[in-house]
Symmetry: C2
Subunit: 342 residues, 2 copies
Amino acid sequence: MKHPNVTIKILAEIAGVSFSTVAKALHDDPAINIETRRRIQKIAREYNYRPNILAKGLRNRRTKSIGVILNDLQSPFYSEIYKAIGDVLHKNGYTMFLADSKYDEAIEKQNISTMIGQGVEGLIVSSVSEDSENIELLLQESVKTVFIDNRPRRDDICCVYVDHEAAATLAVSHLIGAGHRNILLLNGPENLPSSQRYMMGYCETLKSNNIDFREEFVKFNAIDIAQTSRLLANILNGNDAVKPDDFTAIVTLSDVTAIGVYEAAMTYGFTIPGTYSVVGYDNIFATKYLNPALTTIHQPKEQTGRLASTMLLNCIEDPDAKMIQIILNPELKIRASVRSLL
Amino acid sequence: MKHPNVTIKILAEIAGVSFSTVAKALHDDPAINIETRRRIQKIAREYNYRPNILAKGLRNRRTKSIGVILNDLQSPFYSEIYKAIGDVLHKNGYTMFLADSKYDEAIEKQNISTMIGQGVEGLIVSSVSEDSENIELLLQESVKTVFIDNRPRRDDICCVYVDHEAAATLAVSHLIGAGHRNILLLNGPENLPSSQRYMMGYCETLKSNNIDFREEFVKFNAIDIAQTSRLLANILNGNDAVKPDDFTAIVTLSDVTAIGVYEAAMTYGFTIPGTYSVVGYDNIFATKYLNPALTTIHQPKEQTGRLASTMLLNCIEDPDAKMIQIILNPELKIRASVRSLL
DNA sequence: TTGTAAGCGTTATCAA
DNA sequence: TTGATAACGCTTACAA
């Protein structure tokens, strides 16, 4: 038996009462006779009545949905984050729109726009750029937003992020401690906030260890296995300002990039950590099982997702909740991809 | 400058025309004077007008959103699938709700219910069970649905899936070809359709090779690294019907489970493929870089996502599109986790 | 060429 | 205790 579009109106007809009585009964309004209430509720159940969120939302401007906009849905780094977000939302009766900005500001803008159009009550965004007009857009529209993975250049905004500078310091210090002085930085896209922070940490750590910064040692590139491998191929072939013997170690903005180095190692026949030592970033689950196990900087991803979504729901439910900025700490995981030169 | 809730009504006031004129102008209705149209459109842009999808949806029962319900958002297997889904949807102007059923039928039901309530125009579901009442629910509500990763027990339904029996056959045959005869199956949850299919393939392949099926060789378990490792610990400790020397090889329903075997190897000190040979399933990106590289059965995940979403949009846009069932082929990837006993 | 009015499914206010 | 009515923002006949 099919019941297309059961509405309170239809229930009203069936129950032989007015539709507003049905509405009240369904809200268990004590104004309605207890028996009528029960009777109507029973009918509603029988006919599998489900309130139309669109109508509801139109009326109360509440949709019980929030939007999550990230830069790469496929990355295990982000998966772990929105897994946690999804859990928190589900527990609180919210649904989640998910969109992929592919590290592209224009797509990000579109995504924000679409989500607002969908009537989301809030947004969790891992922003492509630190001072893009997209952030302005969000503020203008006064959409509750929590930024993750970086901190916008203003402090009237909620965010949860890991201190990328500290992470870079951890990574680079570890390498320097093992005797490395020529360290290649395989960074993310240049405009990416985390790329910028990470590079700052990289530079500072070199400086405080009296190692000269060499601009050509920083490579901005997509966070992608194949592209990273290609970039290394270029260096190995001598087609880059950096020559194969110029460096002994590599730090990467992401474990995925680090895996790109592993791919290159397999393809072009160098060894890790024999030829190059590698330190990743994120500590995605697979890194522990790589060959060799990847030394990396851990980010508390699950915690990031949990905090961000909890914070967002707080903001939504309590309109004058104050803006909070949470900074989480990275953590060095020493495994087997760094060789000691000492 | 903040423009809260710019509606056609407000635009109408500003433009000094009636709100329906605005509505038509925004739809570029030729009935409206070209100049008025341009003028109104310009104002709309200036005021950053964005139509309210809720109102729109309420009116036309179109929300331009679809729901994706999967069993584990964090699994790289699924990530690759919904990455592809997201791309197709985005290209076609749709948004995606995403929900995690955690291999639990009750949660799945809730998710379906919430999504329908949200007014999705269609659903892509990787169902927890093959003949759950949830599927009935979907048909009853006549929600356009494409099932992935398995085929419901009825053929009036769209689906895209990989032939899991064939996959199991590929895996088990490969092991038998290498001289293994005692093969442990680390399966997924018992009610999971893919678990059932996979086991069928496992059984048949044993049979056609004249190897006796031993029930205790099939372990149903969550698809989870830690739990898999614990299960193996149990066997290694002699606390299971299966003893450590009873088998020489392991096939798993998922690469994640296979990684659980790697975890156990690290923790309890056995070697792969020395002690046990392992064949995974899915070919998630990391398997290639594991230590040792995992021999596994490839599933075309990106293709699955692409086909499923394209098919769904077809169904939505053409109400009498016919139900299509697509079966994709698995493919053996030989790497280094199987030892030849010959 | 533009405006009026009804309706989508709710909620909420007020009247009966 | 129940019912009528308006409103949320939009689309779309139909009237002017």
